[in-house]
Amino acid sequence: MSTSVRRTELPLTVRTPTHEPLNRRRRSTPGRAPATKLFLILPSVVILILTNAYPIAYAAFQALHNGSLISPGEFVGVDNFAKVLADPAFWRAAGFTAVFAVAGVFGSWIIGIAIALLLRTRIPAKGLLKTILLLPWVVPIVVSAMSWNWLIGTSSSPVPTIFHALGFGDAIFLSDPLGAQITVCLFEIWVNFPFMMLMMSAALSSVDESIYEAAKIDGAGAWQQFRYMTLPIIAKPTYISWVLMAIFCVNDFPTVYLLTHGGPVGATNTLVVLAYKTVFQNFQTGPGVAIAFLMTLALAIVAVLLFRQIRKSTSQ
């Protein structure tokens, strides 16, 4: 790999478990004052265990019982899982969750990296544009959802009115299943592209401009430079951003729930929304927790696959 790429200066220090501190001059004696170190880390460990170990154990218990929010119920084995897996609503939600996550990850990544590349060139009013482009990420999701609801919520909202005036007919956004699905994905992209823009800007700032000069002389076009030079260099931060965004999209609740409540007729139910409704609206704790477990399992598999890809891309 070219030495002109200043890898060590990558400011993108997402602290993954394999993260090694860059500062190797430090020689802290590992055995020094273990009691003090235990004391320093103890509050964090206690909070972690109390708010995670207990709930996960209890959730596993709930998944195997037919209880409710007020009673533990009787042991039913894997009945809850069988019931969930036999329910077409679960598979519809699983399918839409996959579409939603793929659209969220790649939609926001494409816009984010495009902006990051454009911001590297000479452009007027760069600072102002950068600030405006960050806004969707800064604004609380509840506020964004209200804005979007006002913009497209009913047929008399501003955007459908403009569509009608332009001769596109009665554009329906949230009352039609497909329209609602597209709108929810677009909303997710709108919320998340600034994050990708930040991640990719940071990654690109570690790429030395001088590497392109030789390529330009050799006649490589902009796309070839991007595809064969830039992209391989920023592969690792790109994969990290995909993992984080995939985790976020699958776990994302408010984006969907606040815009459509999962409707119409369950078309925009993601697994999180379905689990929430099963527990807090239908009061079926066992099946709800079972949905959450199955979702976690799928997410873990995707995360592990992508992490392998990260390892591969860094070992090259």
Partner: protein
């Protein structure tokens, strides 16, 4: 090498500069279009909050006066501020020492803990929130601002600890070693040397935890059940339960909600690292 080839090499960049000025306007136009996509919903929110209800379209602060005088908005605002600030203080107090141990420590235990923090961060909130709701109901912490603060501290802890550890990685260990030689304990070395030099890291962590607590909807919607404990994101939903939504009032509350994060970003932007940005989204 002949002069002819040299000349073409010099000519190539000149041509790309000429083509660049037209390309520059195209790139600018694309960015402006994307900025419009980003801005329109937010501009609409601010515009509606300032528009008079009498249909004249004149600018007024009456919507703000209405929501701040007649509804529970002030109480929700106070609740939101209390919860967010308490989350910031407790999170930093817990994450800074833990981050120090992660930054300075080697070995399997510390590495294992770092991995555990990542796993916990990736778990869906919905899985743990249901049992915690049952537990908190039994011990009186459901529908309670203390209870929700505990949950926010817990859900921001992974990222907050990583942010502190990353920042402390940049502080040379020789500083505290010098203090140890002068007879300081490990704890004093942490407090007086490392923490005192980590203020930008602390600020960055504080911003992240504040935003997380201020913006949360899911946890609050499950745990906060009575109007007295509502935070702003939950309280404002009650505006939608009437038949026709009073958009002026809704958007006035929305503007009150978006002001603190926007002001924080405008002023403290440079302290907020991308690493923190990454984690905060993954953590929502």
């Amino acid at each position: 090498m002949t002069t002819a080839t040299l000349r073409t090499k010099i000519a190539t960049p000149r041509r790309s500069i000429e083509a660049g000025s037209r390309g520059q306007w195209l790139r600018f136009a694309i960015l402006v279009a994307l900025a419009a996509f980003a801005l329109i919903p937010i501009a609409g929110t601010v515009g509606l909050s300032l528009r008079a209800n009498n249909g004249t379209g004149s600018l007024t602060l009456e919507n703000f006066a209405n929501v701040l005088s007649s509804s529970g908005t002030v109480a929700w605002l106070v609740n939101s501020l209390q919860v967010a600030l308490a989350t910031v203080v407790v999170s930093v107090a817990v994450a800074a020492p833990a981050g120090y141990v992660l930054s300075r420590g080697r070995g399997r235990l510390v590495g294992g803990y770092s991995l555990l923090l990542f796993v916990v961060q990736a778990l869906p909130v919905i899985t743990s929130v249901i049992p915690l709701f049952i537990l908190f109901s039994h011990i009186g912490l459901a529908d309670n601002l203390v209870g929700i603060t505990i949950l926010y501290v817990a859900s921001s802890m992974s990222v907050a600890t990583w942010m502190m550890a990353s920042y402390m990685d940049g502080i040379p260990g020789s500083l505290e070693e010098a203090a140890w030689i002068d007879g300081a304990s490990v704890f004093k070395g942490f407090l007086h040397i490392v923490l005192r030099n980590s203020l930008p890291g602390v600020l960055s962590t504080a911003i992240f935890t504040f935003l997380m607590a201020w913006n949360d909807y899911l946890v609050a919607s499950i745990f906060l059940r009575s109007a007295g404990t509502f935070t702003l994101p939950i309280g404002v939903q009650t505006f939608f339960q009437q038949h026709s939504t009073d958009w002026g009032s809704v958007m006035a509350v929305a503007v009150i909600m978006l002001l603190p994060p926007t002001i924080i970003f405008a002023t403290l932007n440079k302290f907020f690292s991308v690493g923190g940005v990454a984690g905060s989204l993954a953590g929502q």
